[in-house]
Subunit: 385 residues, 2 copies
């Protein structure tokens, strides 16, 4: 009996299971003769035969599944070599797979492209997009990003009020190795230059601690507070991540060669630098870390729907060939489209230059983009201070 | 013209402005002949004459104000000495204050008790409670706590799913100097011993890094993941905060003698210890820090209402005398009551012993307490892994 195989790869998001649900329901509708199988822990589940049958899950359960954040099938960061690819392809053959739908980011798309090149079966390889980093080429934005961005924006609006009530300096360390979208997103809610984030530091622009301190000083002198949003992946002028420089030998890379950053190393260094430069100020560094990427308390409705639709579209597309589902924006509506895997696989989209105003702020163009994606700004009553 | 003066002290909460609203509306209703004045930045605003007239704010604005987190009047950690008390009392006399309502924690109540003792005017001194630490004596729980607890519980449920998808160890560092309520609260959503938080560490029980690592080891071996909730204020057997021991000379105290902890110092040490003991595991430490205490995205409805009612009750009580508003629970309902300031001022309520099961877990009794306060647990579909 033929099958459609689905898996999830890389870091989870708040809506990655919506994509899974969309794919399951579309498979039932458009290919009712196939079994629907889920591979546990991504391609790793295929090689060891760890597969769950999703064909008959009741729709009420699917709805609950969709609203549950973080990869329900489990995930992996494994990057299969040529031998592992053979084992995966053999497993897909045994399962009589018409299509392998892999939900993930650019590394996941890369794995699919490897499989596609090595395959000589009629199985189609389809990438369904997800990432909180928003760093996939060809996409206006990526399922999972809006919810994560809303988490960060809510955090910075809230902390801004905290520091209006008592002066000080606050730095939120935000996930993001190569792209600063998540770090910069809260700028979409700025109504004036008094609103947080007052400074943003992303991997796209060179970062030095000395310049950072000077820039904090200027904002703090002007407003009596300074709220900073900083990517874990900020880099020096040589392109070397500061966290790597700080962590020295201890730093780890995953199978895709990605540096395993933690906000902690960076955070402690930033905390020390602030304490030394502003010894009398309240200065606080928090690592938001994993919170934004799958927080059940802040899941955006548009994000839910787009993630679901991307999953459904991935299965419809899979019946015709291999490729990557991308979210296209035509100036009015966001719709899924289908492009060759090579346009997305292993590539990283960074914040466009016109989203920046200098090295530490978001331009009007960038703010418009983030405002379009974010939910409505909370209705904040202006403090009396 | 007589007045009722209101101020906010200490760290903010998500619902502290509900208490302000409740107080304003009750003052209009029960004492319509008085002006309603807000002192900016707590008692500091009184001494320098920095006062805002709140008498005529439209009700629609008050509703927006109530829903806006973090102290709208500004706050302070100043602890007035005898001279400063005289200046504050003189200011209250100039304003012809019938009552001074100060919204805050146990330090705020302490300031009010100092003023009351030194005063020889007919002004009444009333404490309206707020704190995310939930550490006020005489209170079943304190306005501001439920919203903060819901933030942390949502975080740990979400991260638990993240680590079901890919194995590893996670530590959330949570605010709390002396009381572990906020750190332990997420246990109220536990349905089995597989559910996070798998380990909790609070200031009430001695903490050593070596024992912590052994306990993590046991959970990680059993489940393939370990989610830990740890107070910033964890202490060694001598009662010395670990963060203080780690920070050495650099540590700061506020005017009330409170140690100014930051999760960062503790976090980096915990991160290092985990890396050394579990070199191959994914191990991540995030400092939740300021996020739980005033996060606009997670404000609990019961908390809103109780905070509002506490504010209204504080003004009604103020017309009769000085004291502290406390939340009493009779087994069915929570209602505000009025007690002498000395029963709350400067005292700290810690987690009762029967809330603990050993040193690192919450008892059934404790879980019942937190479950009663927390909102409904999110409807999580069990992962396939």
């Amino acid at each position: 009996m033929p099958s459609i195989v689905i898996a999830q790869g890389g870091g989870p998001t708040a809506v990655i299971n919506q994509t899974l649900c969309g794919a399951i329901l579309a498979a039932r509708k458009h290919d009712p003769s196939s079994r629907i199988l889920g591979a546990r822990h991504g391609v790793r589940g295929l090689t060891v035969g760890n597969v769950v049958d999703l064909t008959a899950i009741p729709e009420a359960d699917l709805r609950r599944l969709g609203n549950t954040p973080n990869s329900a099938l489990g995930s992996t960061r494994d990057k299969p070599d040529s031998g592992a690819c053979s084992a995966i392809l053999a497993a897909l053959s045994r399962l009589d797979a018409r299509a392998f739908v892999y939900i993930g980011g650019n590394d996941t798309a890369g794995t699919l492209e490897l499989l596609r090149q090595q395959s000589n079966s009629p199985c189609h390889f389809v990438h369904a997009p997800k990432t909180i980093d928003n760093d996939l080429m060809e996409n206006d934005h990526v399922p999972g990003f809006i919810s994560a961005a809303a988490f960060v924006a809510n955090a910075l609006v809230s902390v801004d009020l905290d520091f209006r009530a008592m002066p000080g300096i606050y730095v939120a360390i935000v996930m993001g190795r190569h792209a600063g979208f998540l770090t910069a997103a809260a700028a979409g809610w700025q109504q004036s230059s008094d609103d947080a984030p007052h400074l943003i530091y992303t991997p796209e622009k060179p970062f030095t601690v000395a310049q950072f301190l000077d820039e904090v000083d200027a904002v703090y002198a002007r407003l009596g507070r300074c709220i900073v949003s900083m990517s874990e992946g900020v880099q020096d002028e040589m392109g070397r991540p500061l966290a790597e420089a700080l962590a020295g030998e201890a730093v780890e890379h995953d199978a895709h060669g990605n540096l395993q950053l933690t906000g902690g190393d960076l955070g402690i260094e930033i905390q020390k630098a602030l304490k030394s430069r502003f010894p009398k100020a309240r200065a606080r560094v928090d690592t938001l870390g994993y919170l934004p990427r799958g927080y059940v308390g802040v899941i955006d409705e548009t994000d839910r729907k787009e993630a679901f639709d991307a999953g459904a579209f991935s299965v419809q597309s899979a019946l015709g060939g291999s490729g990557s589902v991308v979210l296209h924006y035509d100036g009015h509506h966001t719709t899924p489209q289908f492009v060759p895997l090579t346009r997305v696989a292993g590539k990283t989209r960074r914040m466009p230059d016109d989203f920046f105003a200098g090295s530490n702020a978001v331009s009007a163009e960038g703010r418009r983009y983030f405002r379009r994606l974010l939910p409505k700004r909370p209705d904040i009553f202006p403090p009396f201070v």
